[in-house]
């Protein structure tokens, strides 16, 4: 299956709320890939999602340390592959182990390592809008894992969907 939805948020709080809405439908083993330029709100989106998954500590960008790990209602991994150049470097971070069937992983620039991602995953693309705080959020769900959840996700995101 492949589903696509375009949303608009008007503030960082809105982007966090979309992250939280997605998080409510995540199940153990899920993989969320995020793309978007610096400042587009990738970390902001993950902050909202992690908060909804019970993470109480602050969620910071993983760009420098490459992988951060949090404990919410399940293990949450937040990875950034932006500074890496070779697939081997991703594997050397223990990527296979980060695809934890008991946890969920958010991968910034995950689309660049598409071949390593499982068939079922969701892509979140964040694009800057015309106004400074406006963002377009494009969600693309792939694989059988999203087929039955997609409609529920769409209805929970109704208020942000582009007219």
């Amino acid at each position: 299956m492949s589903g696509r939805a375009e949303l608009t948020t008007t503030s960082p709080e809105g982007t966090r709320a979309v992250g939280a809405a997605l998080a409510a439908l995540l199940v153990p083993g899920d993989v969320v890939s995020l793309t978007g330029d610096l400042g587009a709100g990738k970390t902001c989106f993950v902050q909202g999602a992690a908060g909804a998954l019970g993470v109480t500590e602050g969620v910071a960008s993983p760009s420098f340390v490459l992988v951060r790990e949090y404990r919410g209602v399940l293990p949450i991994y937040h990875m950034d592959v932006y500074r890496l150049d070779r697939i081997q470097e991703v594997l050397d971070l223990g990527f296979e182990d980060l695809l934890d069937p008991q946890g969920v992983i958010f991968i910034e620039w995950g689309s660049a390592i598409e071949g390593l991602l499982p068939d079922s995953h969701i892509e979140v693309e964040l694009l800057t809008g015309e106004q400074e705080t406006q963002r377009r959020v494009v969600l693309t769900a792939r694989g059988p894992g999203w087929a039955e959840r997609w409609e529920r996700l769409l209805s929970s995101l109704e208020s942000w969907r582009a007219a």
């Binding site: 594997l91 296979e96 182990d97 660049a112």
Partner: protein
């Protein structure tokens, strides 16, 4: 000679302490806390409970994989560090060899199969010989379908051992394959078998220095990350 063995190439953490006379103590943990939190405390408990001083340990054996990167790295780094500090020799043994050794009395051919994640398995074929097993193939990483096809093509009765065989049993018990699965207790390579395999090597001084011990990483990739997007936005 007192040997400490460490096997962390799978989700299980397994350490053991023993001699040529047998196992003194062993800790096995298959669920719960990860290798980074359990390996060193488990070794500490083994030594403490068996009232053995660290400097009595005469050799350290580690499982070299192939296996899961994080666990393997922790086990190998722990073993290497201890060997360096204590100034003792090491023996590294393939984790699939340890798996196969655990069912060495099988009369059929043995295939050790470990879950490699991402829909693949690590595997190798073995045959039982007096005193142990002998590996007949190199370590391979491939989808279970390919292993199933190899087993069917061989036409041989095969005993499958390891978590990869349990996870993919439907695929591996394919039409026309004559396979049997070893029990779930043998799903992971246990440090007690690693210990038993390594002791004769310590005795005949077929050992390695700590800096010669390197894990088997079968998943080598020369591929570059597809950075068309980063180049454009940079």
């Amino acid at each position: 000679m007192l040997v400490l063995s460490i096997e962390t190439s799978t989700p299980q953490t397994s350490v053991a302490l023993g001699t040529e006379q047998g196992v003194i103590a062993s800790v096995v943990l298959s669920w719960g806390r990860g290798h980074s939190e359990t390996t060193v405390p488990a070794i500490h408990h083994l030594l403490e409970w068996s009232q053995v001083d660290l400097d009595q340990v005469g050799g350290i054996a580690v499982g070299l994989g192939p296996g899961l990167f994080t666990g393997l790295r922790i086990g190998v780094a722990t073993g290497r560090t201890m060997a360096q500090v204590l100034g003792v020799p090491m023996v590294g043994i393939g984790s699939l060899d340890t798996l196969a050794y655990s069912v060495r009395y099988a009369r059929e051919r043995i295939c050790a199969v470990a879950d490699a994640k991402r829909g693949e398995v690590f595997y190798a074929f073995y045959r039982s010989v007096p005193g142990g097993v002998t590996r007949e193939t190199t370590f391979t990483v491939a989808p279970p379908e390919r292993l199933a096809a190899e087993i069917v093509a061989s036409g041989e009765e095969t005993l499958l051992v390891g978590n990869g065989s349990l996870l993919h049993r439907r695929v591996l018990e394919a039409e026309g394959s004559r396979v049997e699965l070893a029990s779930a207790t043998n799903a992971f390579p246990l440090a007690v078998w690693l210990l038993e395999l390594s002791v004769p090597r310590f005795q005949r001084e077929d050992t390695s220095r700590w800096d010669e011990i390197l894990p088997f990483y079968l998943r080598k990739s020369d591929a570059e990350i597809n950075w068309s997007r980063r180049a454009r936005s940079a």
